[in-house]
């Protein structure tokens, strides 16, 4: 089998047997980036020599029989929202075009400790705000299955890189669906972790009560392996929970006996593409054939998730992005009158339209006279959304649903309609509000050949259950 088409676990096994070196694997992916990425646009930064240097180091250590990490020699692409010391970290924003962090994100430290090869930084919606990667200030990323379509977003570069076989695994971040939706659009596996499972130290903040880092891979076992490497306690992120990390990669192949799968009546409503609906119903059939008990559950507040989410996420964003003031790092406008005008000119020129729209919405929602009606109201509805999940998980182990209402939409199609773009995240963002984990697994293709994803959600810190349930489906579908 070709190198680029192999799964992470296969590549690791071939390196351990001595059939392949990391330098050969890394070189093969770098060559593909060189020949294909002009068309796909997945990467913002690739340092060929640095990647090959890392690979050769791992090869030497492995050859000498020294201990190597869980990801030893595997290339991993990293969304450009995570700080890598000495490499540009732009968040796809003019504001951070020339920003070079003086430290590593915790997740990047973990990748280094486990001997991964950092193959490059991937494109994204500016500051992770968007669902199509079209809000990047620097380039457009195309869906590898149809270059007229979006790869989804905001981790569109990471999903497209894995789908186009430019990397076997990638890191993304998910604030409202930003790992799962592009994974679904690009036909790869993407997992949003439980809030608190992975440290956000060195993750550029968008909405701090919602942001999570997670893995993308070309199969479920790859996602399990990468999650195992990046998860765990870090005192530098006070929201990162101190609890043991299961060995996800060891248990992922074990099917779950007596699995109870919940289906949400409220999910099958107007706006759901019939091909997506039938792919999800077929997936439920697969679970039934595997002996699972599929039963209907209710999430009565599901339809309020988009409204609550955009108020909360925008409010937090308006506060988090106040730090971009043209003083300590990043862009500064050239023409201004005084200090206040310097701030305003810097932010007016440095941010793109979607970021400004969300800062405006958030500032308005938090401003005097509106705080209770908008922000506080949204936080109360958020609690009811979480209560719905808690109640649902009393009777089922996982909840199955679409990832997105439609397969990948056309580039440009929703750009002028922010609300329609926001509604494309309707199935994913309640997991962020509730803090629960969710995974997107390939569940077939539309008539036009575009991938369709199946989403599974589980209670907090049940990633192991999620991965095993996803793997049961993947094996049966014959896509892994």
């Amino acid at each position: 089998m070709s190198i680029s088409g192999a799964t992470a676990v296969e590549l690791l096994a071939r390196m351990e047997r001595g059939d392949l070196s990391s330098a050969e694997i890394t070189g093969a992916f770098l060559d593909r980036i060189q020949s294909h990425d002009e068309q796909i646009g997945a990467f913002l930064f690739v340092d060929r020599d640095a990647a090959l240097g890392q690979a050769e180091q791992v090869d030497a250590r492995r050859k000498a029989g020294r201990r190597v990490g869980k990801l030893a020699g595997l290339p991993v692409a990293v969304k450009d929202v995570l700080c890598v010391k000495g490499q540009p970290t732009t968040c796809a924003s003019r504001m951070l075009r020339s920003f070079v962090p003086p430290y590593n994100a915790h997740v990047v430290d973990r990748l280094n400790t486990e001997d991964a090869v950092l193959i490059g930084k991937t494109n994204m919606d500016e500051f992770a705000m968007g669902s199509s990667t079209e809000n990047s200030a620097f380039k457009q990323t195309c869906n590898p299955w149809n270059v007229q379509c979006t790869p989804g977003g905001s981790s569109g570069g990471s999903a497209a890189a894995v789908a186009a076989e430019l990397a076997p695994m990638a890191i993304g971040s998910d604030t409202g669906g930003s790992i799962r939706q592009p994974a679904g659009f690009c036909g790869v596996v993407g997992l949003k972790t439980t809030y608190g499972r992975v440290s956000r130290y060195g993750l550029v903040a968008f909405a701090s009560s919602l942001d999570q880092v997670g893995p993308l891979a070309n199969d479920v076992a790859g996602a399990a392996l990468l999650l195992e490497a990046i998860a765990g306690h870090d005192p530098r992120d006070s929201t990162c929970v101190d609890r043991p990390v299961p060995q996800f990669s060891r248990t992922v192949d074990e099917p779950l006996r007596g699995l109870k799968v919940g289906v949400v009546k409220e999910h099958f409503v107007e706006g759901l593409d019939p091909e997506v609906e039938s792919a999800v119903l077929a997936a439920l059939g697969v679970y039934r054939s595997l002996g699972a008990d599929v039963r209907e559950i209710r999430l009565p507040h599901a339809k309020y998730a988009v409204a609550a989410y955009y108020l909360i996420a925008s409010s937090e964003a308006s506060s988090n992005l106040a730090r971009y003031d043209g003083v300590h790092y990043g862009f500064r406008a050239e023409k201004f009158d005084d200090l206040i005008d310097m701030y305003a000119a810097t932010r007016g020129e440095g941010f793109g339209e979607e970021v400004k729209r969300r800062i405006m919405l958030g500032t308005y929602a938090l401003s005097a006279g509106y705080y209770e009606a908008y922000y506080l109201k949204a936080l109360k509805v958020r609690r009811l959304i979480r209560d719905d999940f808690d109640r649902a998980f009393e009777s089922v182990d996982v909840i199955a649903s679409p990832v997105s209402p439609t397969p990948a939409f056309k580039l440009g199609e929703l750009l002028d309609d922010p609300l329609a773009m926001y509604l494309s995240d309707i199935y994913t963002l309640s997991a962020n509000l509730a803090g629960i984990p969710g995974i997107s697994v390939p569940a077939g293709k539309s008539g036009n050949g575009l991938p369709i994803g199946l989403q599974l959600q589980a209670p907090p810190f049940e990633e192991e259950r999620l991965l095993r349930a996803a793997r049961m489906f993947e094996r049966e579908k014959g896509e892994g």
Binding site: P102, G330, L339, R347, K356, S367
Partner: protein
């Protein structure tokens, strides 16, 4: 949401917007605010706001001195510096 609200919010957010942007945001944000009215259908009486998914109380650590960034590293990304400090325009005399 009216034009004056957009202008005031932009001032609060320290965002210099073009006339075209003000016009676009006026209609788009008005539409988003109409949409979020849907939340008023929900009875939230006696519901505690949920600020975080994992509700932690304060997380403490010992207050001990430790290494921080070297000055050169801290200044390396600054738009304007004299090598010792971040430089900003005069802060007195403006608004």
């Amino acid at each position: 949401m009216e034009r004056a609200d957009v202008v005031k919010t932009a001032m609060l957010a320290r965002l210099k917007l073009s006339d075209a942007e003000i016009g676009t945001f006026e209609s788009q944000i008005a539409r988003l605010l109409d949409y979020v009215e849907i939340l008023n259908e929900v009875n939230t009486e006696n519901v505690e706001p949920m600020a975080h998914a994992v509700e932690l109380s304060n997380v403490f650590r010992e207050d001990e001195p430790r290494e921080s960034l070297a000055r050169d590293d801290a200044l390396a990304n600054a738009p304007k510096t004299d090598g010792e400090y971040f430089l900003v325009p005069p802060i007195l005399g403006g608004i």
